[in-house]
Subunit: 198 residues, 2 copies
Amino acid sequence: MKTPSSLDFLTETLRRLPGVGPKSAQRIAYHLMQHDRDGAALLGRALTQAVERVRHCNLCNTFTENPVCETCLDSERDPTLLCVVETPGDQLMIEQTLTYKGLYFVLMGRLSPLDGIGPKDIHLDKLILRAGDGVVTEVVLATNFTNEGEATAHYISETMKARGLKVSRLARGVPVGGELEYVDAGTIARAMLDRRAT
Amino acid sequence: MKTPSSLDFLTETLRRLPGVGPKSAQRIAYHLMQHDRDGAALLGRALTQAVERVRHCNLCNTFTENPVCETCLDSERDPTLLCVVETPGDQLMIEQTLTYKGLYFVLMGRLSPLDGIGPKDIHLDKLILRAGDGVVTEVVLATNFTNEGEATAHYISETMKARGLKVSRLARGVPVGGELEYVDAGTIARAMLDRRAT
């Protein structure tokens, strides 16, 4: 008994999606062929189109369809501030707070030597060029507060300081709405050390 | 800040895959654009190709690229036996046992009134035509032993018996290697009722 080759090909290819194993790949393929052919055709087009059109912004490295993205072209923004984030999703979160009006640089990753992700993979040379444009005066590090994010922030901080730029990092402390009893000791320790005069 | 429209379109479309919500859709889209553009292009082609080529076998209703699938065309098989299964995966499991040499009918589903899946959705009219070809003498019901599978088997059994066909069902009982202490009471009850002379 043979599965049609185009169905086999689809199942094999679906396994390249992150988190999809052989069983889910087959389930998804059957589902699409049986119940959602329109969806399958649409997804096929969406993938082909995205591969053709999506590229990285020459300035901030985020995903865009143009040489330079809309955010970088926005003349209302403060060009002396450059906020470094790991992903476009992180950038979106910061935008939603409406507290930052500068520009961005998106690493598209974080340093993770154990996974073989070094400075090259997070486009540090591009960041050095970008931050050294003579306009940027402060680099705001907004990588995640995980071990890898912290290591990335530290590495970038050293690189930027060596080039005479001011470097800052998002404040650490007790989250808004946080009850001390339920906050971990590391966070409280940090908040105590970083306490501010009121 | 705007996401490129082709990336938005991709994220939206990925949500049509079963089990993919907004967060996973974004994660998958970013992963493909950042780390696996070849995979994305390949998957795009695989989907388009499958939608174009995969159809249902005119006889057994399974997925195939031809009017009639290879299994149905196999002249070595016993055309008087017709085994009814829910999915191509179930058919594959039965094939692997090497205990059955007849033909198949694949329902591509099961009766499930609560989900609005009635006799029409599991191609019962096609099954009635197929089983009534004058050659088939016995219909072997191999739907799952779940509530829905049992209901489906019962429904098909009544329909087929009304047309003068012999109907059988896979035997229920203690699984091979099963220890009575760990087998559920329902299965043991069934095995006791269906006990066989040795």
